[in-house]
Amino acid sequence: MLLIPCPHCGLREESEFTYGGPCRDLPALDGQSDAGTWSQAFHMGKNPRGPLRELWYHSSGCEAWIEVTRDTASHEIIPGGQT
């Protein structure tokens, strides 16, 4: 049971959150990007055994989407989120 640092509410239990998956830098909705660029950005990678920038939604708290950097092997949450 992770303790997730919500920037607003402080450290809270994992069961108050809903997982949003790894952060992905998706192409902007500018009508230009094609399927190939999108598929590479959206489908591939982002499965490190180590620090991962990811999104959590504080569904039972402040209802904010927060970004966390967590080591996927030790579950240690890295403050400040440098990777």
Binding site: M1, E14, G21, P22, H43, E54, H75
Partner: protein
């Protein structure tokens, strides 16, 4: 030296001194025809079928830990093929047919027990969807039935259908050929037969590098030495991303923790395998007497082989809805596996952009049931270079092409499958 009641008697007279090692400690050659990365059930099955079906024995299996120590040792031993998508159903049904004869083929008792797999539906609407699945199975040549009311109660007398529960039991899809197989024995049985055929199985031998030049596989590096080879298979489940990266390959999957647990062993009290579908909880009793239970994943990327205990509480709460007497038993041990789940929840099988390098990944927490079929088909691909029809729907490129195989329709969110 075969295994049989007679060989047991003979060896007992000589205090079991002369049993041969099932898996030896061979010397590593500098090149092999085929290198299989990953000594779990899938990798060892592929090795066995390379020798058995194609006479290819200049093969090395490289296992980072101990054989069968990954997801093969961590699943809840259930085998079945009750899938709606034709692609998933045909591959897993082929496996179910192979399980029936495998103990004899391997001369190793895998303890395949077709006790029946009972998948509970909790509303008429859900039962209608299960009927779709049962019909797909029947039309594909497998046996499946829909049971409701008294017929279901007779089939699973231990199931509590009467008392008020959060999600009532409307009926079930039943696959009688589904059941359980002793998971450890699968790895050992394949390893022993492959070793007897001259295939080299190396334990405590992680892969540290994959040499690719000109888009073509050249060699595999290990702490025990460099192996030149033209053909290799990546079959490492939860570590797929990390091993594929050694060859410069990206994969469309996330590794997610999935938990299972057992109770203390008791006398037989449940003969079938039963799954609760309002949030998974699959329950069966091993031949050693423990109830083994499992559920869905922990729902976030993880390699820690450790998860939140709340998942176990969810699985238990649902198990008690089905079998209230379980509340008297006690939890003996819980563990985790690393489920590599692709963006459509289905496996990634076949060639990769690197010539000669094949991939068997993305089985998530549904790979054990398919072990012999994956081994058989992957061996055919490695031996002949032709992509078998059963593997074609699971191509590496299917996400770029838009040909996903999404059984549950849960979408491009691995942690939801």
């Amino acid at each position: 030296m075969g295994y049989s009641a007679f060989s047991i008697l003979g060896h007992a007279l000589t205090a079991n001194k002369h049993w041969q090692a099932a898996v030896g400690t061979p010397e590593m050659r500098t090149s092999y025809d085929v290198v299989i990365i990953g000594g779990g059930g899938h990798g060892l099955a592929t090795a066995y079928y390379l020798a058995q079906e194609h006479g290819i024995t200049n093969v090395a299996v490289l296992e980072a830990g101990w054989i069968g120590g990954g997801n093969t040792a961590r699943n809840t031993t259930i085998v079945r093929s009750d899938y709606l998508l034709n692609s998933s159903f045909r591959l897993k049904d082929f496996a179910l047919r192979l399980w029936a004869d495998l103990s004899r083929d391997l001369n190793f008792n895998l303890m395949y027990e077709p006790r029946g797999y009972v998948d509970l539906a909790h509303s008429d609407g859900e039962l209608e969807h299960f009927t779709l699945r049962a019909n797909a199975m029947r039309l594909g040549g497998a046996e499946a039935s829909i049971l409701t009311g008294d017929a279901l109660q007779e089939r699973v007398p231990e199931l509590d259908m009467a008392s008020p529960k959060r999600f009532p039991i409307a009926g079930a899809l039943v696959q009688e050929a589904g059941g359980v197989v002793r998971h450890d024995a699968v790895a050992w049985g394949f390893a022993r037969k492959a070793s007897q055929a001259g295939i080299h199985v190396f334990q405590n031998c992680p892969v540290t590098g994959i040499e690719v030049r000109g888009g073509k596989l050249q060699a595999i590096e290990t702490p025990k030495g460099r192996i030149a080879c033209g053909k290799a298979l990546i079959s490492v489940a939860g570590a797929s991303t990390q091993v594929a990266a050694l060859a410069g390959l990206e994969l469309p999957l996330n590794s997610v923790n999935v938990q299972a647990f057992v109770t203390e062993p008791v006398k037989p009290a449940l003969d079938t395998v039963v799954n609760y579908n309002a949030g998974y909880s699959y329950v069966s009793q091993t031949s050693k007497g423990e109830f083994v239970l499992g559920g869905a994943t922990d729902g976030y990327s993880s390699f820690a082989r450790r998860g939140s205990f709340e998942r176990i509480e969810d699985v238990l709460a649902r198990a008690l809805q089905m079998f209230p007497f379980l509340s008297r038993l006690r939890l003996m041990r819980h563990w985790s596996g690393i489920a590599d789940i692709p963006m459509d929840g289905n496996a990634i099988l076949g060639p990769t952009p690197v010539e000669g390098l094949m991939i068997n990944a993305g089985w998530g927490y549904a790979g054990f049931k398919a072990t012999p079929a994956v081994g058989h088909q992957m061996a055919a691909l490695l031996a002949t270079g032709q992509l078998p029809e059963l593997l074609q729907p699971f191509a590496y490129e299917r996400f770029a092409l838009g040909a996903e195989q999404d059984d549950a329709g849960a979408g491009p969110y691995p942690w939801l499958h």
